[in-house]
Symmetry: C2
Subunit: 461 residues, 2 copies
């Protein structure tokens, strides 16, 4: 057997062990957004460091940042002319609790019908773990890997990677490589793999409206004081026009327009409306007039409300006229929109439309740049062949709706191409309740990632 075939056979034999190790990792509630989980985030980092040591990785270190640590490790014995692959993944997860309607505890993983239910199962612990198991499979089955490997495992992706840019700037030599591979995205569907060629950026904000200095009795003041919750809805309702175009002046100025060729290519991966309705339970699709579903998702920016809070939200009725109201508002951005510029535009627009009867404030919480990736590069072709062999089917190129802000940073600061080989599904419930991961995706991912390292080692210069 050739080297990748031996590694693939090892991976098949050890499938159950791999699953049980992943479950151990998923039990750690490494929620980066909640400060009371900071120790859990570190626990997950230490768990990964121990795993990496046990499977033969070297220079394993848990490196501090101002908030949550980065885990670094490598295996660099492929020889002086061999290529080097940098693996990026994140071991932090979105918040989750039973109160958000999970069927079972988000940190007590359950397998049912070959589907693994847990926060982070798909985003991104499950997909990250694929690459650890690829290294293990090569080393245990063949004693070596055809390329050098470096791991860069982050603990702050779900809070916008506030410290990773500086980390990349501080460690250019440590992280130098020929190509970076990221598995943190979705296939087209369970049978059709996909390589992502664009990700959206993010500008995540809080919009606050302030009225009276304290909560008032709605009987004593209702009708003479502008209710901040009402004012907030009046402001937010002016964000979209009747065609669902965003009304913030200048919002679309930096959007790279779609040409006919690109639109034709996007039509090949358009979303199936019937499937979308049944998958989500919505009564009808929605979005910007004049664009297909795929274009709305992958090539057009959005403005979403991620949270609303004001006044009394508990049981029963409390006749309060609230002192303030808050919305979490985020824009998904496309090339070449810049998050800070979009934040400034939204801030100016909110200020402009805030009536004189209340005060408002917009804060930027989190940001990430959009990225476009060349689908013709040698590395992309290597990935294409890896899917054909390891997965058994050629991938489609996909524009993705989600955000992986680090893509642009790696491209720019580390000067290497980024290949996004995602092994998740959009229906995995990432960020929502009952997040899950189809274990066949996990195992096919390992097979494909083994082939990818082999293909990279045999790329023509």
């Amino acid at each position: 057997m050739s080297s990748p075939d031996q590694a693939r056979a090892y991976a098949s034999t050890h499938a159950k062990t791999f699953e049980s190790e992943l479950i151990d990792l998923l039990k750690i509630p490494s929620i980066s957004a909640e400060s009371n989980h900071a120790e859990d985030v570190r626990r997950a980092a230490n768990w990964l460091a121990d795993q990496l040591r046990s499977i033969g990785a070297e220079h394993v270190s848990v490196m501090d940042t101002p908030r949550h640590p980065v885990v670094y490790a490598d295996w660099l014995h492929a020889g002086p002319v061999a290529r080097t692959v940098l693996i990026y993944g994140h071991y932090d997860v979105q918040p989750a609790s039973m109160a958000d309607n999970w069927t079972s505890d988000p940190f007590e993983p359950v397998i049912q019908d070959n589907v693994l239910y847990a926060r982070g199962a798909s985003d991104d612990k499950g997909q990250l773990f694929i690459h650890l198991k690829v290294l293990e499979s090569y080393l245990k089955a063949t004693g070596g890997v055809p390329v050098n490997i470096k791991f860069l495992l982050e603990g702050e992706e779900e809070i916008g990677s506030p410290n990773l840019t500086q980390f990349l700037k501080d460690h250019p030599d440590l992280l130098s490589a020929d190509v970076c591979v990221i598995s943190d995205s979705g296939s087209y569907d369970i049978d059709q793999p996909a390589i992502v060629t664009s990700v959206r950026g993010l500008a995540y904000m809080e919009v606050w409206v302030y009225g009276p200095s304290i909560d008032l009795h709605s009987g004593g003041y209702g009708g003479i004081v502008h209710n901040p919750a009402l004012a907030l809805t009046q402001i937010l309702s002016q964000m979209h026009d009747e065609n669902n175009h965003i009304r913030v002046p200048g919002f679309y100025d930096s959007v790279v327009p779609l040409n006919d060729e690109e639109r034709a290519r996007l039509a090949e991966t358009d979303l199936n409306e019937t499937k979308l309705l049944s998958e989500t339970g919505i009564p009808a699709t929605w979005g910007e007039h004049g664009f297909t579903l795929r274009e709305r998702l992958g090539a057009r920016p959005t403005l979403e409300i991620n949270g609303l809070y004001s006044g009394w939200t508990g049981e029963g009725s409390k006749t309060v006229l609230p002192a303030k109201a808050m919305a979490k508002v985020s824009c998904r951005l496309v090339a070449d929109q810049q998050p800070e510029a979009i934040y400034e535009l939204v801030k100016a627009y909110v200020a402009q439309i805030t009536p004189p009867t209340v005060r408002s404030e917009v804060r930027l919480l989190n940001r990430g740049e959009p990225a476009l990736i060349d689908s013709q590069s040698a590395e992309m072709q290597a990935a294409f062949r890896a899917y054909a062999q390891g997965w058994g089917r050629e991938p489609v190129f996909l524009r993705e709706g989600g955000s992986i802000p680090i893509v642009v940073d790696i491209q720019r600061l580390l000067h290497m191409p980024v290949i996004m080989m995602g092994y998740g599904l959009n229906s995995d419930g990432a960020h929502g309740p009952d997040e899950h991961y189809n274990l066949s995706m996990f195992h096919r991912g390992i097979q494909t990632a083994i082939c990818f390292l082999d293909e990279v080692s045999r790329m023509q210069d």
Copy 2:
């Protein structure tokens, strides 16, 4: 000394004792809206029953209803020709917790500069307790009262008195009287007492918007799924037109129009705009164009948002596309608007403006009818004189913004006039944090209420 003078002297002598007893009552968190406080509500009822017994009331009983009990007591020894006064008050309170920005624990009363800080201090435990101390003062100082007295103390006012109507229907003889007095409203200001001649009704609703069956990732679905939080703001922003008139079709159809005479009288008690701004901290007043502040507050209906909830409201950023969004929406009503009719109108309007991309639902949580009171009756004149003597100043007649739904029920079911002698202030922070009660209002209230019983006993038929 005449009988009321002796009672007044007793009350002055025992002022500190009365305050310390009130503090004991305020320590009981009798929050009727929260089911985990049901035992505390009952504890407050039992505390009042014990108090009533100790001051000489008879037939004291804690009477069960389907939820929180009613406390009944009487003293009926004024003689066969004497008039009977029914005292209504409520011992339940609005929800309160330190998380709502209280300076000190809402159920650990604090006195500072003669102001008592605690949930319920003004609304309504402090005002209710006035009447217990009136009975005590008469009985201890003179051995009798010039009228018969009945107490009807409710534990469900803050949740809309769901069981009181039936209680009145079930006990017409027990509650029969010549006049009902309620102290659960505000003076015009601290030096100017007021008798309330109208209260607004209430239709308290929840508006729900439903989108996807579970929370989604805003990257994976943002732009193709109508965000329920966004849809909710779009629906709520259509509740008012640019003049702050409510756009719900038919909403104003039953409003009794103001005539010129009424508007002239209301102008006498119009609100001071400068004082309102400094009292509330708002940058400018707001409201329905074409009406004065007093008219907006006392003679015009409103539609308020009392609470907003959707998606992620915690620390940091969670890129969720929420499955649902909720608003607590309440309308303050004026005569002759009917709460159920208004609910049906709002429900129909929300259904009409809900886009086909989401689903919506409107539920009625709580209701109360508005009331108008005759300011020329003999009982009203008795109250007028009681203020002149007991308080030291003649009252103004006031249209109030708040709701006391029971007023209409007492008028209709028990066939007696209701006189609203409020000893609170609109600035007491009822329903908000740091609710407080100026103890000079408490003591002047006792003096006035003592005089009122004397005036009622001397009314001409």
